[in-house]
């Protein structure tokens, strides 16, 4: 049985995502959303848990991202669904900066 190990993937350079902004980045089949909340970076799945839509096509207000299709809101720091129609949280991934590179840890 193979052991799966999380791996760090480079998704951009520091400065690619400015405070108050979010950006989409795909790694293989993972569609990711990167957020810069007052200088701190966070990462979630980019697909809304309610219907197929990219959160990065929506609206970021503080630490809450609103899905463009039906207004579901998520706290980007924890992935927690904040309001209907979302009932499931979105997945979050560890994110770090190494030598000026933004890296996200994804399951292999």
């Amino acid at each position: 049985m193979t052991e799966t190990v999380d791996q760090w993937h480079a998704v951009g350079m520091e400065g690619d995502v400015q405070p108050g902004e979010m950006a989409a980045h795909d790694v293989g089949t993972h569609q990711l959303a990167l957020y810069n909340i007052e200088g701190e970076l966070f990462c979630t799945d980019n697909i809304c848990s309610h219907a197929y839509a990219l959160l990065t096509d929506g609206w970021l207000d503080g630490e809450v991202v609103e899905c463009p299709l039906h207004g579901a809101q998520f706290d980007v720091r924890t992935g927690k669904a904040m309001c209907e129609p979302a009932t499931c949280d979105v997945k979050t991934y560890p994110i770090r900066i190494v030598d000026g590179r933004i890296e996200v840890s994804l399951p292999a």
């Binding site: 839509a53 929506g58 609206w59 207000d61 463009p68 299709l69 207004g71 129609p85 009932t87």
Partner: protein, 398 residues
């Protein structure tokens, strides 16, 4: 111990029950519902359930499975036939009595039906309940000719689902354009283009005069046309289930009349959701058919039943998903002095912003522009000027 009774297990009643459980933890809460099964979400009934991408188990409202743990007694198959305001009790058809200290009416709406002189002996599908949706889905078989009476949101969403299932679809709209009741003309034209590109046969100014069975099929006749269909669906509006309130002497005028606190003239009776006629910002009152509004109003009514004094003045907002299009309407574009279009209305994505006489945004419609929808919600709430949506036109003082 406080006794709360809610009549209606739709979105408003469900949200109210959960909210009551939060703000009145020791109270007795009864949620009474006509239908069988747990409360479920209605928007998928004309979309995912019909096109087969979701099943009944997937649309149960969040929190409904945990009613008992939250202290909510849920009573399905409970049809309430009378409210005794003096005795503060409601009576079910089967004789059960539920006493209350505070009562919430969240009875929603039922589909408007075609009059008998038009419908004749025809079998017509109306869409309101999960049962309706599952029954209709079984009939939407590839190759069948489907007639949709009504070019409003329901009719158009059903048309899209029927096309997805391989049916041939004709939409019959009595007025000269689609979505005439809710939308401005530019949107009607765009939506018609969308449906026609997907193969829907749209007939405008095509009111149905008579219908009758012809073997397994249905003959529909208009002034200058006739159609033979295998399946007929009618989406011609809804009627508020306000009879219970009217018979109890409560004020009813296109819905149960409530104040900004979701209260009726009876201090022990509140109402929330689609069944209500409530005050709206800017004056006047409306009966709004919107998912978001129903849930919010249910929650606010519940908090007010526990002694709160919150006004329900939510910015109206609704969505409609048809084929791959997402249409969102925010605020009250009807109340606008004029509309401004952002983007190209002949393209796949554009936005209409509606402003009042002072160029303040009162509403808008976002066609595949969800970000604009989010901005419009904030704009309407804050009374923002048009430049909020169109920053390039802002004038900067020297």
């Amino acid at each position: 111990m406080q006794r709360y009774v809610i009549i209606g297990g739709g979105l408003a009643g469900h949200r109210a029950a959960l909210e009551l459980a939060k703000c009145a933890p020791g109270a007795a809460i009864h949620l009474l519902e006509d239908e069988d099964g747990l409360p479920y979400d209605r928007p998928p009934l004309s979309k995912e359930i019909l096109n087969g991408t979701k099943e009944a188990g997937g649309i149960v409202l969040n929190g409904a499975a945990g009613y008992e743990k939250s202290g909510i007694t849920y009573c399905p198959k409970t049809k309430i036939i009378r409210i005794d305001r003096v005795g503060r009790r409601v009576e079910a058809e089967d004789g059960r009595i539920f006493a209350y200290d505070a009562l919430l009416l969240a009875t929603g709406s039922r589909p408007r039906r075609l009059p008998a002189r038009i419908a004749g002996d025809a079998e017509i599908h109306y869409l309101r309940t999960l049962e309706d949706s599952l029954r209709l889905r079984d009939r939407l078989v590839a190759g069948r000719q489907v007639a949709v009476i009504g070019g409003g949101f329901i009719g158009l969403e059903v048309a899209a689902a029927a096309i997805a299932r391989g049916c041939r679809v004709t939409v019959l709209e009595a007025l000269p354009r689609l979505l005439a009741r809710a939308m401005p003309e530019e949107v009607s034209i765009w939506v018609q283009g969308l449906h026609e590109r997907e193969g829907v046969d749209i007939r405008l100014s095509a009111g149905v005069d008579t219908m009758r069975r012809e073997g397994d099929r249905t003959r529909l006749n208009g002034a200058e046309w006739t159609l033979l269909a295998d399946v007929v669906i009618a989406g011609i509006g809804v009627v508020p289930n306000a009879e219970l309130a009217a018979e109890a002497g409560l004020d009813v005028a296109d819905g149960i009349v409530v104040d900004a606190f979701c209260g009726t003239a009876d201090p022990a009776i509140f109402a929330a959701g689609e069944v209500t006629s409530h005050p709206v910002a800017g004056g006047g009152r409306l009966r709004i058919e919107s998912w978001k509004s129903s849930g919010e109003q249910g929650a606010i009514a519940a908090r007010n039943m526990c002694g709160g004094a919150e006004t329900f003045d939510e910015v109206p907002w609704l969505w409609s998903d048809q084929f791959d299009a997402n249409i969102q309407m925010i605020g009250l574009p009807d109340h606008a002095a004029r509309h401004e279009i952002l983007g190209d209305p002949a393209s796949k994505a554009w936005t209409m912003v509606s402003v009042d006489g002072n160029e303040r945004i009162v509403g808008g419609i976002a066609i595949n522009r969800g970000r604009d929808a989010s901005m419009l919600k904030r704009a309407v709430r804050n009374g923002a000027p048009l430049t909020f949506m169109r920053p390039e036109s802002a004038v900067f003082a020297p």
